[in-house]
């Protein structure tokens, strides 16, 4: 039993890293653009299918394929922002963008169904089923590599945010859009690039998700509800909060699964509800803005 729990904790942390990468994209988009990107879940699935196609059709290793899929997803993100999101103005903007991204999710999902059908697939290079034996615990290599990839991805995003001029503009827009505009930051450009980056991370997250889970076009719903829970729990717009919350949630779910596989997801959502009862702004939420 003790061994199972240790395995579960390790699995949870390793998977949590991958979810952190996807959640960071979501929370960044929220922080800068003040919108909730419902399409994030299905974009992860799109990223997974891209890796899957590259692997099965062109025999490109999924990790190597990221060199193609990450830029591709970045472009998709910028296009979505340009075509739909940048055009919305006015008081109902936040609710409208939510609906727009939901519609985009529907369209992508429908197209994926048309192309790939409803059967579950999995990205399965040779090393997916081999595992490392560390301190009496078996851990799949794919989880370890995925975790390393996720840590690297999050580190890149952090460096981008805190070590570059672009990152400083991003943080300025997060703090006060009007002031940022006044000091000469091109808010629209920052928003487009942020959306692109937020979507680009789904390429890596999707590859990892597709290698560890069987998925089809429908899997996006499950993913987005998890990602949203993580982002809310961490406090919307807080990158550090998203990291902490995804490690916490995935570990919790993984540990509960040892006893109760069917209800583990419910515990996960229940944790969200309980936290919100006591801290409506999440664990690391920013101060509420009046009349948001």
């Amino acid at each position: 039993m003790a061994r199972e729990i240790i395995t579960a904790i390790v699995d949870g942390i390793l998977l949590g890293g991958v979810y952190a990468l996807m959640a960071v994209g979501l929370t960044l988009i929220f922080g800068v653009l003040d919108i909730i990107n419902i399409a994030q879940g299905v974009l992860v699935i799109l990223g997974a299918y891209l890796s899957y196609s590259l692997f099965t059709k062109a025999h490109i290793d999924p990790f190597l394929g990221l060199l193609i899929t990450i830029p591709a997803m970045f472009v998709i993100g910028v296009v979505i922002h340009w075509a739909f999101i940048s055009r919305l103005r006015g008081t109902e903007r936040t609710s409208m963008t939510l609906l727009v991204t939901y519609a985009v999710a529907l369209i992508i999902e429908g197209i994926l169904f048309k192309i790939y059908g409803a059967d579950n697939v999995q990205i399965s290079p040779r090393y997916v089923n081999s595992s490392a034996h560390v301190l009496g615990v078996y851990i799949g290599w794919i989880y370890i590599w995925g975790f390393i990839l996720a840590v690297a991805g999050v580190a890149v995003v952090y460096a981008l945010l805190y070590r570059t001029r672009f990152g400083r503009s991003v943080r300025a827009v997060m703090q006060d859009e009007t002031a940022a505009r006044l000091v000469g930051i091109s808010v629209n450009k920052v928003a487009a690039l942020t959306f692109g980056i937020g979507v680009a991370v789904t390429a890596a997250g999707g590859m990892e998700f597709g290698a560890t889970n069987a998925f089809n076009a429908n899997s996006g719903y499950d993913l987005i509800s998890r990602l949203l829970s993580i982002v809310i729990l961490g406090g919307m717009g807080s990158v550090g909060g998203a990291l902490a919350a995804s490690l916490f949630m995935l570990t919790l779910e993984s540990v509960v699964t040892v006893w109760q596989p069917t209800w583990a997801v419910a515990v996960y959502y229940a944790a969200l509800v309980i936290v919100l009862l006591f801290r409506p702004r999440g664990l690391f939420g920013r101060k509420a803005v009046r009349a948001q």
Binding site: I232, W263, P280
Partner: protein
Amino acid sequence: MNVRALAKGGGLVALIVVAVAFPQVFTNPAVTNYGVLALIFATAAVAWHIFSGNTGYISLGQAVFFGSGAYAMGIAARDWHVQGTGVFELLPLCGAVGAVIAVPFGLIALRVRRHTFIVVTIAIFFIFQLMAFNFWFTGGSSGLGSPFLTWAPVPYNQNFYYIALAFTAGSVVIAWLVGRSRFGLQLRAIRDDEDRARGLGVKTMRVKLTAFTVSGALTAMIGAVWFYYLNQVEPQTGFNPLFDLTLVLMVFLGGLGSISGAVLGALIIEPLSLWLNTQPAFSGSLSEVMLGGVFLLVVLFMPRGIIPTGREYLTKLRTRGQPAVSAADADGAAAAAQSASSVNSGGAR
């Protein structure tokens, strides 16, 4: 009284006559099926409007009530061995189930502001879908069947049509009463500026929760009707994420904040999506793509919806070419303003 008020009254009467006569003229069950489902969705859209349209809190968790109502009816009919038309007597119970669920749901979700509220409703929705899949009394993934109704196909659809019509009319009346009451004003004050509303003495939590509960009870009842009509509910159809999106699409297409907009949107979207599903060219997933596409077009090109945009256009037509303010014109403008504020429960923004 003037001509315009008479025309409005006449229009309303004509609308009622058309609605009542529809299944008598088109008796083909394939056609009345469209009518029944459109009215079911119209009721759900008006129920959505009562809470979300008035307060501006977009709820994507209405399927919680819809599915719970369906399951409540299915479980009660099964366990208490209710048969035939007696099943309809369970409808108030289904409404009560919706209300009982809405209170804790609202107490949790309404503690947070707009963006987070949307997401919390989604999370709670998924908890309910999961429960429908996994509880011992819900029939798991194969769902529940309803007791058999011994009605022939033609009166079957007709009867359900009139039941759904009664629910639509009832929910419109409730929404209208809410809209013109002090309670409705409080809801719209919350939409415009919640902090200020509270500062002026509106008990915001209580008001929001009341509207949410009314909306939930109505949605649960119409969910139960929907279940009995289709004879079947599964976790993924009763608790369907697309259901919420479809409702919101209907309301935005018709015009957010107006009752007539919610009804009109439902009457357009539901038959359209049913029809798309029957076309081989758009079968399966492509109807989803179409739905998303229509949605994007609406949001980008007519963000305020048909009713407000149309009303604006009519006013422009009416006042064009008459720049001089005559007595009749001033009278007309006043009447137009009056009718606008009484029809559009959203009122002036």
